[in-house]
Amino acid sequence: MRTPRSAPNLAISLATQATTPIAPAAAAGAEIARLCFAGLHFEFEGAPALLEQLKRVPCVRPWDAGAVSEVRGARVTRCRVAAFDAAEALAQAAARSVRSIEWSWRGERATLLGRFVSAELQYSAAESRANARLTANRRGAESLLTALAASLLHRLGGAILHAASLELEGVALALIGPSGAGKSTASRQLSGARAFSVDRLVVAPAEQGGWLAFPLPGGTRSALDLPPTSCTRAPLRAILRVRKSTQGTRLEACSLPMAVALLRESAFHPGVDPDAEQELLAHLQGLAREVPVANLHSSLGTMLGPPLGRWLAQRQTKTADQGQALP
């Protein structure tokens, strides 16, 4: 089993594929944009118009110099961007029918495939320097950031989940399950909860221990019918696989293997690389060991907050496969 952790101090330099002219690295007028996305800190160098596209991506937040190591092992990622408007990229992306973001690492090389972006990254851990070739279309800014974050987080031990998530008293609660599982219904059963993310959630091991959650673009927070939170990151407190129930609301803790299976079911998969799958499973096992995962059998008309709080407080003393009926 390959080690899931990368060497710290990643540095990525990004340039476009030769489908469009690549601007010189130190082109006149190039600027630096520092921003945070998915818990990672980026320094992008490029034309102001391109940097503006990056800044407008949802869930991008201002540079937080005091928290550059909030994701374990992460440092500032330096990227060079020349253009997002590659004429051939749209046709390529459509032809590939990429379902989500796919990536694979082979030693110091990574290949990324997103819906609107593809890139090849290469970095030297010894030199803490990397280069990449990028193809993206007009919608490439969001896809580029997401693909970069996904691949880097994969190296750093994190993952991206298909999850609705809530912020409740400063911590994040992830609700996973397919469409129609009852995530929105369950979210309304938590008094005081606010919408954190609707569709995609970054989970990453925190520099200070535990796991952090970061929202990603996708969906609209109004879909949860909850007021949005102002939090852009929060400690991840629990992950609940929501299931509709007509027999009362109850929480059922998962065994570790089943928890990993449920997380994998909800995780962005790395595509076609068995080694990347192995690494993702290792990451999810680490997540399931530190963050409680449970099946939530949810019935209408039941408030979830108080019993959930009690369950979380008591879980330290519960065996992994013991179910607990809620009052």
């Binding site: 293997p257 089943m258 990993v260 994998r264 068995p274 192995q278 096992q285």
Partner: protein
């Protein structure tokens, strides 16, 4: 995505017909296009191309681990040694489980030796 394959530990199925696809001399091996992680004695097996996930029980996990091109009768021998099960039932269950692994694309028949 989750598709649980329990593995050969179900109830005794006496009188069941012999497997038409596999036999004691069948050699079984894991497909290369799979990923697996054993957690608390249970294997999580992902078939990459089908994007399916299977959680195996203890016996299924052992059979999976032994599926390296060796014959099924050798796998049955190991199961009989390591678990409290008589050979007849172990053989029947291992054959059926091998068929399940073949059906979901997690394993394939091997012509070579282990």
């Amino acid at each position: 995505m989750t598709n649980q394959t329990t593995g050969p530990s179900g109830p005794v199925r006496t009188g069941a017909p012999p497997s038409p696809l596999v036999s004691a001399e069948t050699r079984l091996e894991q497909c290369e296009r799979t990923a697996c992680r054993v957690i608390d004695g249970k294997a999580i097996v992902i078939t990459i191309d089908r994007n399916e996930l299977h959680v195996l029980n203890d016996v299924g996990t052992r059979v999976w681990q032994l599926a390296d091109g060796r014959r099924l009768n050798e796998i049955v021998d190991a199961v009989v040694q390591e678990f409290e099960v008589d050979r007849e039932r172990a053989a029947l269950d291992v054959y059926r489980f091998a068929e399940q692994l073949l059906a979901v694309g997690a394993a394939r028949l091997s012509k070579g030796g282990a």
